[in-house]
């Protein structure tokens, strides 16, 4: 236990130092970087990835993975538009139904993983295709626009001088920290990741825990879809494609072991901020959006390499 804490501290310490170094480097490169307006805007932009990264931390701590989050986001965004515009439902009802659909999609992932014992990688790769396919089929490549002004408050408005969705994100993150660290559910999550068979034999509710985690992942992905649609005030079927890469990078960069059993929500938050300022800094210095995905990919590999190296140190 103390050894584990030491690794976590070490990983987070390294990450923290890296964060400060990047921050200083970016600030000295560009005057526009270290301004309240820019930082708040960056925080606004990272909310969708950040929201999904919280349940993804739980998923990866159990030793699983959820590749379908981007497709759930796209499907829920499309459904929101269909419920509201094509079926003529009031927007709050459409939001509720869209959230329910995302939760159901996550629940289906959980069922496939727990009841049918399909490895999470393949299960969610299959539903990645299925959910995106449903989004494309339902939307027929038509986008929905013209959302009412009050809806934009969530994605583009402020509350007490801070972007509205950041309050939502802070709430979800705080909830995630609390559950993973201080509840039986959180301890069960670690136990599953460390040794699933042992957890099962100790009488822990392995299946129910995993089912709940994948369901939560679907629900939060739907929530991210609502925030996303509100921010860009349009829905398209390709929304959120590839977002799973950014989410997983943030989680792994934050020190969560891809093999399960180790990781913290705080680490995910630091990983997330590090990734966002890296992207922001690169785009401020003239690197285009596609160039930054190259950097994210490289950062992901380096993060796993360092994490493997650290765990080898500790096991020796």
């Amino acid at each position: 236990m103390t050894a584990m804490t030491r690794i976590l501290i070490r990983h987070e310490a390294i990450l923290g130092i890296l964060f400060v170094v990047v921050l200083i480097a970016m600030a000295s490169q560009n005057d526009r970087f270290l301004t309240t307006a820019n930082l708040l805007n960056q925080a606004r932009l990272m909310t969708e990835v950040g929201l999904i990264a919280i349940p993804m931390t739980f998923v990866i701590v159990t030793g699983g993975i959820d590749l379908s989050v981007g497709s759930i986001l796209g499907l829920c965004a499309i459904l929101l538009g269909v419920f509201w515009q094509n079926l003529g439902l009031p927007l709050p009802a459409a939001i509720g139904l869209s959230l329910a659909a995302g939760t159901a999609a996550g629940f289906a992932n959980g069922l496939i993983v727990t009841r049918f014992r399909v490895p999470p990688l393949i299960a969610t790769l299959a539903t990645l295709a299925l959910y995106r396919g449903l989004a494309e089929g339902i939307s027929q490549a038509r986008s929905v626009r013209g959302y009412p002004d009050w809806f934009a408050v969530l994605g583009r408005g402020d509350f007490l001088g801070i972007p509205t969705q950041l309050w939502l994100f802070a709430l979800v993150a705080a909830l995630g920290i609390f559950i993973l660290r201080f509840t039986t559910f959180g301890r069960t999550t670690y136990a599953i990741g460390n040794n699933e068979a042992a957890a099962e034999f100790s009488g822990l509710p392995v299946e129910r825990t995993k089912l709940l985690i994948y369901t939560a992942s679907g629900f939060i992905s739907a929530l991210a879809a609502i925030v996303f649609v509100s921010r860009v005030s349009t829905t398209r079927s390709d929304m959120g494609s590839g977002i799973e890469l950014e989410v997983i990078t943030a989680v792994v960069l934050g020190g969560t072991s891809i093999f399960g059993g180790r990781g913290m929500v705080i680490g995910t938050l630091i990983g997330l901020c590090l990734m966002q300022i890296l992207q922001n800094g690169l785009s401020l210095s003239g690197v285009r959006g596609d160039g930054t995905t190259v950097v994210i990919g490289a950062v992901l590999i380096v993060a796993v390499l360092i994490s493997n190296l650290l765990s080898r140190f500790s096991s020796d």
Partner: protein, 316 residues
């Protein structure tokens, strides 16, 4: 021995099933719309999709070895552009045909080393490669298509005995890979590594070397697929076909390659690629919107995986 026999029969069953389904589909759609069976349409089904079948051969090797590769679509896009740039910059045509094989093998050998030696899980390594390759491609080419290809470069438009060359490549490489997997020490060691890495190590098979070789071969086969892809039209798109990796993985898995590794043949994956190409074409002839294609693909892969898991549980 009997276990291997049931496995052989099991995977053969999948192949016979696929042949039946393909014939049924052709008969059904052909009755509904006879133009579906016209020589033109059949040729376009095979010529337009043979590169997917070819790439699925390499993917089958990767999955049989217990790994996965989600970067193959991006790799094919990059290698196609490399081939096009070589030939439009005055290099001999044979160089433009062979370079993708070498570069593909080299890139994937590095990925294989990351997986085997640095213990980066294949999903993470290839997810990162996906973003590096696709982001790098768009940054480098700016999305410009490559035109002005010299006469004689279009390998995929050649015919032998009036059969288009992609079909010959598809059949020839399937037979070659089938022979490699069944009758060589290397082929057997891929199965061994995939079904039980520990036991494979105990019998003196090098897990690391086998995985690196599998990925290098997969990269070279991806190079062949890239050349077939690049030479089918008068221009080369410099964007990666969206979701190509999923189509290729689907072909492997639906073709009977078990997602848990160790089981499957390359014949099944070729048949599944043909089936999937035929489904895509029949949607058009059945007047179903092509936007449902990905949903059909998702259902196919999910159904196959669930059936695979159920069969495994039954046989123990």
């Amino acid at each position: 021995m009997s276990r291997r026999l049931t496995h052989t029969l099991g995977s053969l069953g999948q192949e016979i099933l696929l042949v039946v389904v393909i014939l049924a589909l052709f008969a059904f759609v052909g009755v509904y719309n006879p133009r579906f069976l016209s020589e033109n349409n059949l040729t376009s089904i095979f010529v337009g999709n043979a590169y997917i079948a070819v790439a699925a051969i390499g993917m089958s090797l990767v999955i049989i070895s217990g790994n996965i590769d989600v970067s193959i679509g991006a790799l094919i896009g990059v290698l196609a552009v490399i081939s096009g740039l070589l030939v439009t910059n005055g290099y001999p045509i044979w160089v433009a045909w062979l370079a993708p094989l070498v570069v593909g093998a080299a890139i994937n050998a590095v990925v294989g080393c990351l997986i085997a030696y640095a213990r980066v899980p294949s999903i993470i390594a290839t997810l990162a490669m996906l973003s590096i390759l696709s982001g790098g491609l768009i940054t480098f080419t700016g999305g410009q298509w490559i035109s002005g290809l010299p006469a004689g470069y279009q390998l995929a438009q050649f015919r032998l005995f009036n059969v288009p060359s992609p079909v010959w490549f598809m059949i020839g490489m399937t037979i070659l890979a089938g022979f490699l997997m069944r009758y060589t020490t290397f082929g057997r060691s891929v199965y061994a590594v995939g079904s039980n890495p520990e036991a494979a190590r105990a019998t003196g098979i090098s897990y690391k070397a086998t995985v690196v070789k599998v990925f290098a071969i997969h990269g070279a086969i991806g190079g062949v697929a890239a050349v077939l892809f690049a030479t089918q039209l008068q221009v080369i798109q410099s964007t990666v076909p969206v979701g190509l990796e999923l189509v290729i993985i689907t072909a492997s898995v639906v073709g009977g390659v078990s997602i848990l590794g160790g089981v499957g043949t390359v014949f099944g994956s070729t048949l599944a690629a043909i089936l999937f190409a035929a489904i895509g074409s029949s949607l058009i002839f059945l007047n179903v919107s092509a936007y449902w294609l990905r949903a059909v693909q998702g259902i196919l892969i999910l159904a196959t995986v669930l059936a695979d898991m159920a069969r495994r549980r039954r046989t123990g």
